[in-house]
Amino acid sequence: MSEPHELTAAQAVEAIAAGSLSAAELFDAYHARAAADRAAGEGGLNCFTWVAGEAPSRAGMRVGESRRPESFRKPDAFAGTALHGVPLAVKDLFCTEGAPSQSGSRILAGYQPPYTATVVARLRRAGTPLLAKTNQDEFAMGSSTENSAFGPTLNPWDRERVPGGSSGGSAAAVAAGLAPWALGTDTGGSIRQPAALCGIVGLKPTYGAVSRYGMIAFASSLDQAGPLTRDVTDAALLLGHMVGRDPCDATSLGFPHEILAPSAERLDGLRLGVPEELSGEGIEAGVLDAFAAALAGAEALGARIEPVRLPHAAHALSAYYVIAPAEASSNLARFDGVRYGLRAADAEELIDMYTRTRHDGFGAEVKRRIMLGTYVLSSGYYDAYYGRAQRVRTKIAEDFRAAFAHVDLLVTPTAPSVAFRLGEKTADPLSMYLNDFCTVPMSLAGIPAISIPCGLSEGLPVGLQLAGPAFSENRILDAAYALEQSLGFDGAHARV
């Protein structure tokens, strides 16, 4: 009989529905593990910025005494729900009333929003009580979670290495078995890349499929919430309860069909395109080997592998690092010390208050991107940078459309390397940015993509990315499922 935390989320849902496990038991089991990591401080993985029951607390939580959320008070609290009380870890930047929502930043340390993000509220109604808030790179800017104001998160596969970012806390928590599943956000790869580095599944939905209301913004035209899970089945299960139009988010769309539980056993007739630009140069040999092996596996399942070209993919990273910082520089202007968050002490004059608050409150990477973003939007430079980058974006979207005229899905390695060491890339921002070059093009085009673990290199997980046209999540999930079953990746090593 497995320990409760050894079950996947889907298995736990079944067990609770069948009566062989109670939601309270499951919550307590995970809570103990999460709280232990929190209490371990530097001895732990530092996955979390808050765990249920921790002060500060408000309506919905009881301070100290109980660690379980309000919803547990009612008997059969989750009886009518689809997910039966399987708890959820949520990235710090999702507004959660009653729990701190800081986006990994000092400027929002301890901030408690008066409302809850739509996607979190929907999932809670579907039966997933809030277990914990997870650590992240500050304002989602980073690929290693080393930019967090609350210390880095460690990779459970090797505690001297990064879990990836920006959703590193969520990825590490799931990989380590400290949470059954977690919410992350992906702007340029921030779900997929940490999923790859931690050996779990991470999915970035079609832009607009999931509401952004209540997600502390990084780059508005790129941010999307998505699941980080142990397997593809769990990803589909969670995603199904996340999608749907939200009247509070003008950019959100109705998902045209239901998200289905994947079941494909083979890939017969599936045409998989491998973009030249994203599957060779710049990628570690070990990663390429694991990738090649996975492709062979796909062929064995009946898929047809074809090379394709994405001519503008080489410029995607550049365009991304113009657009994302530009939008971020504007989105972060609201952190001025007037209405919430940090305010520099003893500022006698307004400009002084603004500059000192933001100087003290923002970390180096955030400052870098704000400056970059301000520059590329400034008069005289707009056309050369922001204007151009938005045109590159159009070309990238065209490249994908052209590719999907010949193949069903695209497949690439998710990240150019396995998990790197802490501190290895912090000295050179550009080297950090290059982590995203396989994932950024899909973000720019707004198309969905998943990362699944496909093998090991040097004992560390390698991720494989599948991408498809807008709203092709079901097809992606099905293909990923079939591959996952045949690859048989075992993530037990990472579990705490």
Binding site: C95, Y111, P113, A250, S330, A333, V338, R339, Y354, T374
Partner: protein, 512 residues
């Protein structure tokens, strides 16, 4: 989808007609453009569902969106777009099939997000015309919050702390920018009044300058009289009444004139007019103009206007003042002045039309009053009495005079059943007590003297009593008739028709 008609004026590229008064120094002519912000009378704010505030306690009309809380997102108000379309249609603008919102980025405590959501190079409406002035564009944006300065003077300079109240933040605004077609402060004031009555007729805003639902900045420059290159323009802000706008513009014109006459150069800057002192001070230099780093608002989709939305906007528009005036002249043959007077105040025009429709009831013995006569009685006799305090706020529909009553009264005057003088007395009574003119005339014995013997006898008596005046009239001094007419009028208590009295006097004096 068909585009709307582009205003005729836009097809003629030449300069607009000059207007305005003669200035002190004929070497220079002013070139004036206006930038007007109109608070739209929607139920909720531009990008969130907070109800608009009318003096509520601070920060009681806010939400995550208009407070700029992390994670909040804007969603555009459909009714604000609807009102924007109505404004565009009223001004004959071209309605953009697709317009987008932009972010205008800068830091200020009354700007919670650190940017204002506005429109930049793809506005809702372009071009158009109202009266003598061409419209450059109309766009939608959100209002800033209110900064209350807590300091000794209560104004920006010299205060130590401020309190921010976000109730107003997010209120929908339509920004209307004119071409620099105005040529004098008076013309600007006149035109602004026309704009206000147009917007009021549309029902899209309270357009009350004192309350801040209508705000106007002016761009002013001087150039050599007769045309030629435009001079450097300054922007004049914070004028919150029509009078202040006219005074402010004039003061700025004079200031620029002085500079130019002295051989200096006007600096492009933003200025503040203090109506109390007449002083013009600099707010900030537009040269170091803030770089707003405009970029398309990624949180909002483009506003796509379809034919259904345009039709809905058109259907919601009542007749505009300019159109109503034209209709009165065209269909009713009213004079231009009467048409103007009745159309610039909708309440008067509505009353006039109701009276016209009431006409004379079928059983009455005289025909309906002529339109022009009725117009005079509404626009002059009734309106002037309402203005001196007898009719709640100048609106005849709030007075005791019904359109039917006025129509009947005017019909009686036209049929000479009551003299003009007597009718005025009846109108006074109607205003004070309401009622029916026929009854009032009966009760107070104000029926016209029916010409003939009764009047002739009174005239004869008056002539006898004013022999000197009579003599002077015989000798050719026409003005001397006054006292004799006055005597007759007093005797008849105004019931006689003045013209008829004069005629009888002359007849009896043997003057033809």
């Amino acid at each position: 989808m068909e585009r709307t008609r582009v205003s005729e004026a836009l097809r003629t590229p030449s300069q607009p007609p000059p207007g305005g008064s003669i200035k002190k120094d004929d070497r220079y002519e002013p070139v004036i453009g206006l930038e007007i912000h109109v608070q739209l009378a929607t139920a909720t704010k531009m990008f969130c569902g907070c109800e608009l505030s009318f003096g509520e306690p601070p920060n009681t009309r806010t939400c995550a969106v208009c407070l700029g809380l992390p994670g909040s997102l804007p969603v555009a108000n459909a009714r604000a777009v609807h009102f924007g379309l109505m404004i565009g249609l009223a001004l004959g603008s071209e309605l953009a099939p697709r317009s987008i919102f932009h972010r205008k980025n800068y830091f200020y405590p009354d700007l919670p997000k650190g940017y204002q959501i506005s429109q930049y190079d793809e506005p809702l409406c372009r071009g158009g015309r109202l009266g003598e002035v061409r419209i450059h564009r109309v766009h939608l944006e959100e209002d800033a919050a209110k900064l209350i300065h807590v300091g000794s003077s209560g104004r920006i300079h010299g205060s130590e702390d401020s309190i921010v109240d976000f109730n107003r933040g997010g209120t929908p605004l339509a920004e209307i920018v004119t071409e620099p077609d105005l040529r004098s402060p008076e013309q600007a004031g006149e035109w602004l009044r026309l704009l206000r009555s147009t917007l009021r007729a549309l029902g899209v805003s309270d357009v009350n300058m004192e309350e801040g639902s209508l705000r106007c900045d002016a761009n002013i420059s001087l150039r050599a009289a007769g045309g030629g290159r435009l001079g450097v323009k300054t922007e004049l802000k914070n004028m919150n009444s029509f009078r202040f706008i006219e005074r402010g513009i004039r003061a700025e014109m004079e200031r620029q004139e002085q500079i130019l006459r002295g051989g200096g150069e006007v600096v492009q800057e933003t200025l503040h007019f203090d109506p109390a002192s007449g002083a013009i001070t600099s707010l900030r230099s537009k040269e170091e103009a803030h770089d707003y780093r405009y970029f398309p608002e990624p949180d909002l989709l483009p506003v796509a206007i379809d034919q259904q939305m345009i039709d809905a906007a058109r259907a919601d528009m009542s007749e505009l003042p300019a159109d109503r005036a034209q209709r009165y002249q065209r269909e009713l043959g009213l004079s231009a002045d009467s048409a103007q007077a009745l159309s610039s105040r909708a309440a008067l025009g509505d009353f006039f039309e109701a009276a016209l429709a009431a006409g004379a009831p079928p059983a009455q013995r005289e025909p309906a009053p002529p339109a022009q006569t009725l117009a005079n009685w509404v626009a002059v006799e009734l309106a002037s009495r309402l203005e001196d305090g007898r009719g709640a706020g100048g609106d005849p529909s709030h007075s005791r005079v019904t359109p039917q009553a006025l129509a009947r009264l005017v019909a009686m005057v036209a049929a000479k059943r009551v003299s003009v003088g007597a009718a005025r007395q009846v109108l006074d009574t109607l205003l004070a007590e309401g009622g029916d003119p026929e009854a009032i005339v009966q009760a107070r014995g104000l029926a016209a003297i029916d010409g003939g013997e009764e009047l002739a006898a009174v005239v004869a008596a008056a002539l006898a009593a004013n022999a000197d005046a009579a003599q002077r009239v015989r000798e050719g001094n026409a003005k001397a008739i006054g006292p004799i007419v006055g005597a007759v009028m007093r005797e008849t208590r105004g019931r006689a028709d003045g013209a008829e009295v004069s005629r009888l006097i002359n007849e009896q004096l043997g003057i033809t």
